[in-house]
């Protein structure tokens, strides 16, 4: 970039393509391009700039835009790059964003209110619809909260299945983050690749849980069903494929000058700002803080697995992309360890208060039938109390604050949505950046509006 301003007399000369050349010595007869070029070089016209091989700014933003030329524009809620229905109000000075504000609530469906009308066993059906890219994390968080209030522990196999499934979900979510980040910057092929690989994981989810999204698989007391036959081959295949293809994506993006140019130094946030604004997850780690709830407050036996917490340095879009890619690799490692260590045994707790009787007992026993009916209509009672459980979702700290009053339904269920708090980072990241960087910044934050609005 040149540091020339509009006051530079030399620049003013070149605001017309042929400026400085329409003098009398212009030879109208030499019409071929080569001759004109040589002519221009002789007359000292700044051809390199005019032909675009050297780019100069023709004005300096800070100098010529005055206060009263500020303009507020709305971006969204219907905008393909805002990842759902996020609306941004941007205060612009020319191309520069001076201030911005997130307007949310377009996807608000009152799920915390709904949770108060559902039994504890129906709860996961509700929370799984919040963060639709990481539904299993929502279910796990809710189930852990219910289990803590019940004071029960799930069997080892259920815990390992939970870790296996949530880490696969993390991979799927980060692949979408990479895909949409690429799409917003213009790398369309990475979008198709990211969704293709995620599809493989969703196919495994469908085989295990019956649904691609909104699984209602992790429930208080364990998981809904055991892993399907042949799961080990599927999981091994997924891990191998992801690792193999990630190497391709690294070739495509890691040192790609366009990618690096669009992401390096864009959307910067510091570690102190992250802490002040309660921003967690890959955004916090990209700023250099090795904070991961799986290490800090382990849950579901995650402390038994070996993995590292990747961190960035600068806290920009590129670092967040790197952190997510490294986390995919770490999660693949956890999935492999979980598959290798899968213990035998029950996949849900052997506590008749929480778990319905086995299917074959219902055919034989009247009491078992009544018991089954009771559990699915009235649900089980949870002793009065309150607790806050937080797990590391792909977007950061996902918390569930659960208050029970001794009945079969929660008195209050609140979800601490990571995307909701992370959105507060956007005005910081976008201040004094250009409009073109907006979509890259939003995509790197990876907000899920279902999670934000609940």
């Amino acid at each position: 970039m040149s540091d020339k301003t509009i006051d530079d007399p030399q620049l003013e000369e070149v605001d017309l393509w042929v400026s400085g050349t329409e003098e009398a010595e212009w030879d109208v007869y030499s019409t071929d391009e080569g001759a004109q070029k040589m002519r221009l070089e002789e007359t000292g016209a700044r051809l390199t700039e005019q032909l675009g091989s050297v780019v100069t700014d023709d004005y300096d933003l800070d100098d010529i835009i005055s206060e009263d030329e500020r303009m507020i524009i709305n971006m969204g809620p219907q905008h393909p790059s805002t990842h759902g229905v996020l609306r941004l109000q941007l205060e612009l000075e020319g191309e520069m964003i001076r201030r911005s504000k997130c307007v949310i609530g377009y996807l608000h469906t009152g799920m915390e209110k709904t949770a108060e009308t559902l039994t504890f066993l129906q709860g996961p059906t509700n929370v799984t619809r919040m963060d639709y890219l990481a539904p299993l994390h929502n279910e796990l968080c809710y189930s852990l909260a219910v289990e803590r209030l019940l004071d029960i522990e799930v069997p080892p196999r259920a815990e390992v299945i939970r870790i296996l499934m949530t880490e696969l979900n993390r991979i799927a979510s980060h692949l979408v983050a990479m895909a949409t980040n690429g799409m917003d910057i213009g790398a369309l092929s990475i979008m198709t690749y990211g969704f293709r690989d995620r599809e493989q994981i969703l196919a495994f989810f469908e085989k295990t849980t019956g649904l691609r999204l909104n699984h209602n698989y992790i429930r208080p007391g364990g998981v809904a069903a055991d892993l399907p036959p042949g799961w080990r081959a599927d999981v091994t295949d997924i891990c191998d494929t992801i690792i193999r293809r990630l190497a391709d994506y690294e070739d495509m993006l890691k040192e790609n000058p366009i990618w690096v140019g669009r992401t390096r130094g864009v959307g910067v946030i510091t570690a102190d700002e992250c802490r002040a604004y309660g921003i967690t997850g890959p955004t916090l780690r990209s700023a250099g803080v090795a904070w991961d709830l799986r290490k800090a407050f382990p849950y579901s036996g995650i402390e038994n697995y070996e993995f590292e917490v990747p961190v960035g340095e600068k806290g920009d879009v590129y670092d967040r992309y790197r952190v997510r890619i490294e986390e995919i690799i770490q999660s693949v490692g956890i999935v492999r360890q979980a598959a290798a260590a899968m213990p035998k045994g029950d996949f849900r707790i052997d506590d008749r208060k929480v778990t319905p009787p086995p299917r074959h007992r219902i055919d034989e026993s009247m009491e078992a039938l009544i018991h089954h009916f009771k559990i699915f209509t009235e649900g089980f009672r949870v002793p009065a109390g309150e607790t806050y459980v937080a797990i590391e979702s792909p977007r950061g700290e996902l918390g569930c604050y659960l208050v029970a009053d001794g009945t079969g339904k929660p008195w209050r269920m609140h979800t601490r949505a990571p995307s909701f708090y992370n959105l507060q980072a956007l005005p910081i990241m976008m201040a004094d950046s250009v409009v073109a960087d907006t979509v890259a910044t939003i995509a790197s934050l990876d907000p899920v509006m279902g999670d934000v609005d609940r």
Binding site: K113, Y277, F297, Y388, G399, R416, F420, Y421, L423
Partner: protein, 157 residues
């Protein structure tokens, strides 16, 4: 690791400290809140993880509990603050000057429960439409229903 907590505990020994399923909970009065939060920030609780509220309609007095979950990354410790708020004067001091991240959370609590935060820079509705009447997560706010067109239904004619 426990120094931060013991320091706070000694300084605010008259507050109601308890243990809820292995988590530290302190119940404060509204007047103590700001002083306590400033002390907590100094003691190393640098992150406000979450702020929400509970409506104890017809079961407890005061009616609302504002629930603040704070987190100390350096000490790996969580602390939950409960503040009772009466129905007639639902107001607590805003924590935005201490933890700027309280902004969205406090707006959500205001939007859903009608609890106002004194000193908040922009206390407007965040999830519900601006012209919405009532506070949806209060217990006396009905869940609502959509009329369905079944034969026996008399809601739709």
């Amino acid at each position: 690791m426990t120094e931060a907590r013991t320091e706070l505990r000694e300084r605010f020994s008259e507050a109601e400290w308890s243990d809820s399923h292995g988590q530290d909970v302190v119940r404060l009065s509204r007047e103590q809140l700001l002083e306590f939060c400033n002390a907590a920030l100094e003691a190393g609780f640098e992150v406000l993880a979450d702020i929400t509220a509970v409506d104890w309609y017809r079961t407890r007095t005061p009616r609302f509990d504002v629930v603040i979950n704070i987190l100390s990354m350096q000490h790996r410790r969580r602390l939950r603050i409960l503040v009772g708020v009466p129905d007639g004067d639902p107001m607590v001091p805003s924590l935005v000057p201490i933890w700027p991240g309280a902004n969205f959370g406090e707006r959500e609590v205001y939007d859903m429960f009608g609890v106002t935060f004194d000193g908040h820079p922009d206390l407007t509705r965040i999830l519900m439409p601006d012209d919405w009447e009532g506070f949806p997560l209060r217990k006396d706010f009905a869940v609502g229903a959509v009329p369905v067109q079944f034969k026996a239904s008399h809601q739709v004619n």
